[in-house]
Structure formats: structure tokens, C-alpha cells
């Protein structure tokens, strides 16, 4: 199957998955907690006011009809009102979403760069102390939850060794750049505001490291083992025989096919990175959509919870498609359409 038709099929399946996810989250939000109108207004609101809100929210209609009203709003960008922030959920998402994306993208970049670096090192120095050190580090790196790393960072850098900021996205008093993309580092670069860029960058380091550690070590191990598998392949001996320089053999012919398995699990690792963001943003007080989501959950803010889940569903669909495209570019069997039907 060619990459194009593969992507088209993925796209159609993704739309189905998102709609399915919206049904699931709708059922959970409307059926499980009891009366949403009563919850929105609180236990002391008079019954007739609650009754009016029920009608406004179409709660008096049968469930499928309620879903229809809700999903119609969602398609127009109307996710309802947040009980906590008292404004449209869409406005909240617009405000908080870029912060999470900035952090997640930076953490993802850290994860990929260091995973490949450590994986290549471990494979190059297989069965030496470098390899053992990386392996032992990876046993712990995989097993230490991101929120524990975050708390240890808080303790170390917040109190004993304050060389990096531990709270928020910008230091107090720093004037934020004009919002263009919402990513502070990018916006401040566009404006040429280097102090703000440096400040925003420093704020990202600790949360991003906390988020990337788990996936980093997992991917390093996979890179290592697939490089070692490929090292024995005949095509490398053939290329060396042609007199192709060792560096080109290593990076073009060995590393590239070895990265296929690393990239294939990147989608899963990015997923766990973003779910860890729910706790890490809370600890570092990072004003992102995950912290917003947790606050919504702790206040049973149903519209906001549903919106956050749908936003994350869309993010994962996009991430998985990107991963598929990269795998396709790395793997000629998929790119040229000779792979078996997937």
C-alpha cells in the first residue's frame, strides 16, 4: 500500500476514533455523576433555576438528542462553560494549550536526541562499562515516575541549589512577548526579545527533563538493540567492501534503518510523556492544559474535562500520523509501497 492511501485510511479511521471518543466521554460525563445542572449551580440553588438550566443544557431531552446538541457545539468550537474559570472552555483551551505544547515539544526533542545518543553510544561500546552504565541508568530511568523526578528537582533546585527556576513559565517581572504562536520561546525570538527567550527557556528545562526521562531510556535501549541486530547484517560488510567511509556507513546505512523501531514506539512514548504532564505541570505550576485539566477534574467541571479529553485525543491522532509518516520515510518498504498490507 502506498503511503498516500495508507494516510488517507488512517485519517478516516482517526475521525471515527475521535467521534467514538466523544461518545464515550459524553456518556461518562452525563451519566455517571448525576445531575450536571445541579452540580453547575451548587446544592443551594433554587429548584426552578436548576430546572431552567436543565432546559438550556437540553438535559430534559433523551440522551442521543443531548449528544447531538453537544457535538454540534463542539464542531463549532463551543465546548460549553467552565465552572471554575467562569468563561467559555474554548477560551481557556486557547490560553493554556500552547504552554503544554511548548513543554511537550521541547521534552520530546530532548527525549529523541538523548535517546539516540545514548543508544548509539551503548551499541558502539557494547559490553564495556559505557554500555553497562547506560543499562543500569535505564533500569532506574524507566522505573522512576515523572512526578517523583519532578518532586526531587523541586527539592534540589527549588531549595538547595537554585540555579534553575522551578515555577511557572516566566520569572515575575519579566514582560511576556506578544502572543503570536503562544509558544513563549518562539514568540520572544520572533520579537527579538532575547532576555525573555532565555528566561522562558530556563523555565522549561526542569519540567521537560522530568517528562522526558522515562521514554528517553526506553528508546535508548531499543535503539541499542536494533543497532546491534543490524550490525551483523551483510549489507554493511558489502558497503565497507566498496570502500564507503566508516562514518557514512555508520550514520547512513546503520543508524537510519535502526531508527525505525525507535520511531515506531515514539508515539507511545509521547503519549506517556503527555499523560505524565498532568502531574508534572501541577508540581511545577506550569500554566498548561494538563494543569487546567486536573483542576477541572478536581472540581468536577464536566464541560472542561470533556474538552480536555477531546483535545488530547486529537493531539494523539496527529502524533500517530506524524510517527507513521516518519517511519514511512525511514523504511523504503513502506515508502515504495512494497510492504505487506498493514
Amino acid at each position: 500500500m502506498k503511503l498516500g492511501s495508507f494516510l488517507l485510511r488512517r485519517f478516516l479511521l482517526s475521525i471515527f476514533v475521535i467521534i467514538g471518543l466523544s461518545v464515550v466521554i459524553f456518556i461518562i460525563a452525563r451519566v455517571v455523576p448525576g445531575d450536571p445542572a445541579r452540580m453547575a449551580l451548587g446544592p443551594r440553588a433554587p429548584e426552578d433555576v436548576v430546572q431552567t438550566l436543565r432546559q438550556e443544557m437540553h438535559l430534559d431531552k433523551p440522551l442521543p438528542e443531548q449528544y447531538f446538541y453537544w457535538i454540534k457545539g463542539v464542531f463549532r468550537g463551543d465546548f460549553g462553560h467552565s465552572l471554575v474559570s467562569k468563561r467559555p472552555v474554548l477560551d481557556d483551551i486557547k490560553e493554556y494549550f500552547p504552554a503544554t505544547m511548548e513543554l511537550a515539544i521541547f521534552a520530546g526533542i530532548l527525549m529523541v536526541i538523548f535517546a539516540i545518543l545514548l543508544g548509539v553510544l551503548a551499541a558502539q561500546y557494547k559490553d564495556t562499562w559505557v554500555d553497562s552504565l547506560i543499562r543500569i541508568a535505564s533500569y532506574f530511568g524507566v522505573a522512576i515516575p515523572a512526578f517523583v523526578v519532578a518532586i526531587v528537582f523541586m527539592l534540589l533546585f527549588g531549595f538547595y541549589w537554585p540555579i534553575l527556576p522551578v515555577l511557572g513559565r516566566l520569572s515575575p517581572g519579566m514582560i511576556p512577548p506578544r502572543t503570536i504562536t503562544g509558544l513563549l520561546t518562539l514568540d520572544s525570538l520572533i520579537e527579538g526579545n532575547f532576555p525573555a527567550f532565555w528566561d522562558a527557556f530556563k523555565h522549561m528545562i526542569l519540567p521537560a527533563v522530568a517528562l522526558s526521562l522515562g521514554g528517553l531510556f526506553q528508546e535508548a535501549r531499543i535503539t541499542r538493540s536494533s543497532m546491534i541486530d543490524n550490525m551483523r547484517k551483510d549489507f554493511l560488510a558489502a558497503e565497507r567492501g566498496y570502500g564507503i567511509p566508516e562514518k557514512i556507513v555508520m550514520f547512513k546505512y546503520l543508524l537510519k534503518p535502526s531508527l525505525i523501531s525507535t520511531v515506531s514506539i515514539m508515539g507511545l512514548d509521547f503519549a506517556s510523556l503527555l499523560s505524565n504532564a498532568f502531574l508534572v505541570e501541577l508540581i511545577f505550576n506550569w500554566p498548561g492544559i494538563s494543569r487546567y485539566g486536573i483542576n477541572a477534574m478536581l472540581h468536577k467541571d464536566l464541560d472542561a474535562i470533556s474538552a480536555v479529553i477531546i483535545v488530547f485525543g486529537v493531539v494523539f491522532v496527529v502524533v500517530n500520523v506524524i510517527v507513521d509518516v516518519i517511519v514511512g520515510l525511514l523504511d523504503p518498504r513502506i515508502r515504495l509501497g512494497t510492504a505487506r498490507d498493514m
Binding site: 461518562i28 533500569y139 522505573a143 515516575p145 518532586i151 531549595f159 501541577l282 478536581l298 488530547f312 491522532v317
Partner: protein, 306 residues
């Protein structure tokens, strides 16, 4: 698996017609040898056994079993680690070491209940979907599975747990709802390839019922991937449980839970660092133990039984 009966000569077909017995129990001694050859797996197993035994006998082995409940002793609050209190005491004067041991109970019960419910459900759906591959049952089951796999388990589990009352039971329900699809997907792949093996076709030709084929012919041959995944999953379920209790959506105080102890203790940093660091280390210990043991079990199955 396929190459067992695939491109081989006629004589081997007679052999592969017999349903292969589950080799796990017959080769217990050899499997143990393979497992224990890697010292890391043995370390993992020892950690896991220590955790399980100390959780079961918590009331008898902890120095202050009464501290696992609504106990208050402000005179001894915030004591640093010492011989009397190995991990120090918390803001109410309770022995943190005793509370950690008691918190193992909730964590292990969570893993037991979640896997005990999610694995049979996921396995059953995966077997049915895989056996009826291509039919409408397959489509319905696998598309529903896709939906639940669309968002990482922690995020949807947090959302579900937040809409219910916060307690251990509801946290377990929330995680279970998110855990079965992984087994469905695993079993779907395995079952749909096994159903084309000769011994399944032979059973079909002799008129065996679908029930017999799914549970007596296919299921026994899926056991090693199931056990491997379960061994690796225990740690992750406990981690998700700790994450839920970290934000207050799990076991409620005064009953101790590891995540809840970490987040409560974090409020007293840096002076009372032991209130948060020791419960955090306990979580890491559980994960290291179960991961090492799980890796050992995976290697044992992969090298030995294919």
C-alpha cells in the same frame, strides 16, 4: 508460530496436528533455570516477594501498626529518620516506615483487582475478535478497542475517577476501564494467527464447537504472551494508582497510599524532606522490582517457547 506447520514437508503435518500442550508447567524446572540465570531477574523477584510478604504481614512486622490509621501524636511530629523511626515521622507524628508498608497493601490490591478484571475481559474480547476475524463482531470489538486506546490510560482514568467519588474502589474501576483494550489488541493478533494453524483446522473439521476451539485450542497457546504482559503490567498499574492518589483521586486519608503520602509530604519540603522522599523511593522500589521480574519472565518465555 506459523513456520511450525508452514513450509514443511508432509511428514511434519502429522506432528503439528496434535495440539501443542502448554509447555509452561511441564518445564517448570527448566524455566526457573532460564529465569534465574539473569541475576537482575532474581533481584527483581526478591524485591517483589519482600514487598508482598511485608504487605501481608504488615500488622505484625511494622513497628507502629496503629500509625496506619487516624493516629495523632503531635509531640513526635516531623521527627527525622532515626532508629526509632527508620523513615522519620510525618506532620501528625505517624511513623512513615509503617505507613509505607501498609500502603503496599492498597497498591498490590489495586494491581490484583485491575488485572483480575481487565485481563479476562480483554482476553475474551480479543479471542472472539481474532477468531471471527473479518466478520462484523471483529469490526465492532476492534473499533471500540481503538477508541479506548486513543487517549493514554492515565488521562482517561483520571477523568473517570474524578467523576466518581474519590476512593480506592473507584480508582480501580477507572483503571480497569482503561486497561482491557491492551489485552484485546494483544490477543486479537495472536488468536487471528493461531486460528489458521493445522491443529485448529483439524478441530474444526472434526466438528468441535466454536466454544471448544476458542477456549481449548486457541487460548492455551496464547498464555505466554498474556503472562508476560501481566508480569510487566503490575508495575504500571501500581504507578497509575499512585498517580491517581497523588492528585487525591485514590485511597483517601487516613488510610495511607504512596502517591498521597508523596503529595502530602511535598508541602513540608525542604525541612521535612523525608515525608515525601521515602514514599517516593517506595514507589521506585516497587517499579524496579516488578520491571526486573517482568523482564525476566519475558526473556524466559521468548527464549524458551517462541
Amino acid at each position: 508460530m506459523k513456520n511450525l506447520s508452514g513450509g514443511q514437508s508432509n511428514s511434519s503435518i502429522a506432528v503439528s496436528l496434535a495440539r501443542p500442550k502448554s509447555l509452561f508447567w511441564t518445564n517448570l524446572g527448566r524455566n526457573w533455570y532460564k529465569f534465574s540465570r539473569n541475576p537482575l531477574s532474581t533481584i527483581g523477584l526478591v524485591i517483589v516477594l519482600v514487598i508482598i510478604i511485608s504487605a501481608i504481614f504488615a500488622p505484625w512486622i511494622t513497628p507502629y501498626p496503629e500509625h496506619a490509621g487516624p493516629f495523632v501524636d503531635f509531640e513526635n511530629a516531623g521527627q527525622p529518620p532515626s532508629l526509632q523511626h527508620l523513615c522519620g515521622t510525618d506532620n501528625m507524628g505517624r511513623d512513615i516506615f509503617s505507613r509505607i508498608i501498609f500502603a503496599f497493601r492498597g497498591a498490590l490490591i489495586m494491581a490484583l483487582v485491575v488485572l483480575g478484571l481487565a485481563v479476562p475481559l480483554g482476553v475474551l474480547l480479543g479471542l472472539i475478535g481474532g477468531y471471527f476475524q473479518g466478520g462484523w463482531i471483529d469490526t465492532v470489538i476492534m473499533r471500540i478497542t481503538d477508541i479506548f486506546l486513543a487517549v493514554p490510560p492515565l488521562i482517561l482514568a483520571l477523568a473517570i475517577a474524578s467523576m466518581l467519588e474519590p476512593n480506592l474502589m473507584n480508582a480501580m474501576i477507572a483503571v480497569t476501564v482503561m486497561w482491557w483494550p491492551w489485552y484485546t489488541r494483544l490477543l486479537y493478533g495472536t488468536a487471528s494467527s493461531i486460528k489458521n494453524e493445522y491443529f485448529v483446522i483439524a478441530a474444526e473439521l472434526t466438528g468441535a464447537s466454536k466454544f471448544h476451539i476458542i477456549f481449548r485450542e486457541i487460548l492455551p497457546n496464547c498464555l505466554s504472551p498474556i503472562f508476560t504482559k501481566m508480569a510487566l503490567d503490575v508495575g504500571w498499574v501500581i504507578l497509575i494508582g499512585a498517580s491517581l492518589s497523588f492528585v487525591g483521586l485514590g485511597q483517601q486519608p487516613p488510610t495511607p497510599a504512596l502517591g498521597q503520602m508523596v503529595s502530602d509530604g511535598a508541602r513540608y519540603m525542604p525541612t521535612f524532606w523525608w515525608m515525601t522522599i521515602f514514599p517516593a523511593l517506595a514507589i521506585v522500589l516497587i517499579l524496579v522490582g516488578f520491571n526486573l521480574m517482568g523482564d525476566g519472565i519475558r526473556d524466559m518465555f521468548e527464549r524458551g517457547m517462541g
